[in-house]
């Protein structure tokens, strides 16, 4: 068996998590955002497995399985939503879908609000 220090594995997991986070923050394509979330979830799973192996318990792997299940469920719903969004907006640009979003958004529905809002 290897004797990789657990901390190194966790560090790898942390790195992957951070990369996933960067992806989530940077990409505008919804699909890529979902992928980035998958990266993060996978990193978390890796951390679970490493921890389980650290303690010599099966619980870590069990948790990984649950993470996997959750990732699958999330992705399926997510992709379904992406398709619906694509139908509606003809794009996968997350920023394009901004019908919601208060006064910060210059959409005709809510853009007029900022002017007279906040009267004290």
């Amino acid at each position: 068996m290897t004797s990789v220090p657990t901390s190194h594995v966790l560090l790898l997991a942390g790195t992957l998590f951070a990369i996933g986070l960067v992806g989530l923050l940077v990409r505008r394509n919804v699909v890529f955002m979902l992928v980035s979330i998958e990266v993060m979830l996978n990193a978390a799973g890796l951390a679970f497995v490493a921890a389980g192996s650290h303690w010599g318990q099966a619980d870590g792997q069990v948790m990984f399985i649950f993470v996997l299940a959750m990732a699958a469920a999330e992705v399926s719903v997510g992709l379904a939503l992406v398709l619906r969004l694509h139908q509606r907006f003809r794009t996968v640009d997350a920023d394009a879908a901004r019908e919601l979003g208060g006064e910060g958004v210059a959409s005709p529905a809510y853009g007029a609000v900022a002017a007279d809002g906040g009267d004290e």
Binding site: L25, A94, G102
Partner: protein, 620 residues
């Protein structure tokens, strides 16, 4: 008979209530009957009480009538009670008697006024308040009357309310007297704290027993009372309101600003003379105030062009005499002068009113002249009044009362107050002669209607009679008031007589040479402006006050609330901007939060010993 004392204030008050509530709906005759009748009845009551008193003076020299207990809090229990003694009786007599005559006069003078009922309502209220003031057994009740007459003064000065200048004069009168009242009020606080009561007799007894002569408390209280008296009686430095108060109808000037209200300060000091006696420095101060005001008023009177303003400054000056007398401790002389002054000054004002009626309110003496033929009754009564004011010897009341003051000034105060008084007497004779000469002699410069009827002339004549006869009762007056009488030294009487006659003579010479009509010099302007007091007060108090109130009308402290609102609005803008609808922004928030929470974890978990419950609790 004395039990009817309550009717004295009650009658005019009843008149006031009736006129105030029903005024407009009453026929004019009824309003007249109510307005004049109430004061006439009060006069009758006063006479009856006086007669009863003379017939059988009550034991102790005073009669107290308790009406009801005003309130009773923490042992402080002022009564609404009337205190009748010779001093009060004299004042009542003056107020109701002169008041009645003036009311009668006013029925004609105010004949064409739309506010006829309002006028008499105010006048009745004034008489009632003034009687409350002089009859009050308790300083708090006296204060009620004191403020009440102030209010009436305000209402009547501003009687012709459409003219903003009248309003200004009225306000000035009220505010300036109220400055004095504030001092009066503080004196009351002190008395209550130290002596526990405001009942005048009791206060005087306790003060005499508890306060050593010349003690700080006595001095403080007396000084504060002096300030109050000075405000009401238009003494320096609070005299500035009285000349402006001439904006009111002439009967008002006669009643309130000559005969009665302005002498309330004299009455107060006379009433509290025991207390003042405990404070010699304040007595000196009273004397100095009196002397200063005397001269100040006299010089100003000399330079006035308006008939009524001359009389106003004359009033200031004459009350200065009274203060001078009070200051040297001759309070009965002061009150005697108060009485005679009430007669002849009221007469002069009513005469001036008659002139104004005839000339359509042209009061500038330089534009008048030669009215002696057109207005004979007015002329003769005015001359009598003027003579009394000038102190023309032997035939006028003013001579006796002024002479008494001069004599007392010499005998109790020494040569300086006497000399001041003498100088004042000369000036008085000078200015009053000037006015008479300019108004009634020479050629007629201004058209004048003939004299009005009996209701004008009767009061003039009656007052003229009093102005002459009032002086002859001097001895009896003193006995009545103070229990003893002392005649003046003949030598002094002669000196005073010569001085006043000299004043008349100088005035005649100057008139003959046309000096009075010469253009003004700087000194004259200075005197005419009342020695510049108005300008100084305007710069020192009025303008800063108005400036601050106007500049800060929007209240700087409100800006604090605005600042908080601004802060909230700023925070709102910032946060709203972050709600841009972009998922990535929201994820950034998420990540930022995680990073911060992690940092909190890293920072605060580190120093903790493993697994142990913390002992030191950090609480945000």
């Amino acid at each position: 008979m004395l039990r009817l004392a309550w009717l004295l204030p009650a009658l005019p008050f009843a008149g006031f209530v009736a006129l105030a509530l029903l005024g407009r709906r009453l026929p004019r005759a009824t309003a007249t009957a109510v307005g004049v009748g109430s004061v006439g009845l009060a006069f009758a009551v006063a006479v009856a009480i006086g007669a009863a008193w003379l017939a059988a003076p009550p034991a102790g020299g005073a009669y107290v009538q308790h009406l009801w207990r005003w309130f009773d809090v923490a042992g402080f229990a002022p009564d609404v009670a009337l205190f009748v003694d010779p001093l009060a009786l004299v004042m009542c007599g003056v107020v109701t008697g002169v008041g009645f005559l003036i009311h009668v006069y006013a029925t004609e003078y105010m004949r064409d006024e739309p506010g006829y009922a309002r006028f008499f309502a105010s006048m009745n209220l004034f008489v009632g308040s003034m009687l409350t003031l002089v009859l009050a057994d308790d300083l708090l009740l006296l204060y009620l009357g004191w403020e009440g007459v102030g209010l009436c003064s305000y209402l009547l000065i501003g009687f012709w309310y459409r003219d903003a200048a009248n309003g200004r004069a009225a306000r000035k009168a009220f505010v300036v007297t109220r400055v004095g009242d504030t001092a009066f009020a503080i004196a009351l606080f002190l008395i209550v704290r130290e002596l526990g009561t405001l009942e005048i007799d009791e206060v005087l007894v306790r003060a005499a027993a508890q306060w050593p002569a010349g003690g700080t408390l006595a001095i403080l209280v007396a000084a504060l009372l002096l300030a109050g008296a000075a405000g009401k009686s238009a003494q320096a430095p609070l005299q500035v309101w009285l000349p402006d108060a001439m904006a009111g109808p002439t009967p008002v000037s006669a009643l309130i600003h000559a005969a009665t209200m302005v002498t309330a300060g004299v009455y107060l000091i006379a009433r509290m003379n025991v207390l003042f006696a405990l404070a010699p420095p304040v007595m000196t101060a009273v004397m100095i105030v009196g002397a200063a005001t005397l001269l100040l008023g006299a010089f100003s009177a000399l330079a006035q062009r308006d008939l009524k303003r001359v009389l106003a400054y004359s009033t200031i000056s004459q009350i200065g005499y009274m203060f001078l007398a009070l200051g040297v401790g001759a309070w009965s002389a002061a009150v005697f002068h108060l009485m005679t002054h009430a007669f002849f000054k009221a007469l002069l004002f009513l005469g001036a009113g008659a002139v104004l009626l005839a000339t359509h309110h042209e009061g500038d003496v330089l534009k008048l002249g030669g009215l002696r033929r057109r207005l004979p009754v007015t002329f003769w009564t005015f001359v009598i009044g003027g003579a009394a004011l000038a102190g023309v010897p032997l035939v006028t009341a003013g001579f006796f009362s002024k002479d008494a003051i001069l004599w007392e000034a010499w005998s109790r105060g020494g040569p300086v107050p006497w000399a001041v008084g003498l100088l004042g007497a000369f000036l008085t004779a000078l200015y009053v002669s000037r006015v008479i000469l300019l108004t009634f002699f020479g050629e007629q410069k201004h058209a004048a209607e003939p004299e009005r009827g009996l209701r004008i002339q009767l009061p003039l004549v009656a007052l003229a009679a009093l102005s002459i006869g009032g002086g002859w009762v001097h001895g009896g007056f003193d006995r009545f008031l103070a229990g003893d009488a002392h005649g003046g030294e003949a030598l002094f009487e002669v000196v005073a007589a010569v001085i006043s006659l000299a004043g008349v003579g100088v005035a005649w010479l100057a008139w003959r040479r046309g000096l009075w009509a010469r253009p003004d010099g700087a000194l004259q302007r200075f005197w005419r402006s009342g020695w510049g007091f108005d300008a100084v007060y305007h710069t020192l108090f009025v303008r800063p006050y108005v400036w601050f109130a106007r500049a800060n009308a929007r209240d700087v402290f409100d800006r604090g609330a605005d600042a908080i609102a601004g802060l909230a609005r700023g925070g709102n803008r910032l946060l709203v901007a972050s709600q841009d609808g972009r998922v990535r922004t929201y994820v950034a928030g998420l990540a930022l939060g995680a990073v911060v929470l992690l940092a909190i974890g890293v920072i605060f978990a580190r120093p903790e010993p493993a697994g142990a419950e913390t002992a030191t609790e950090v609480r945000p």
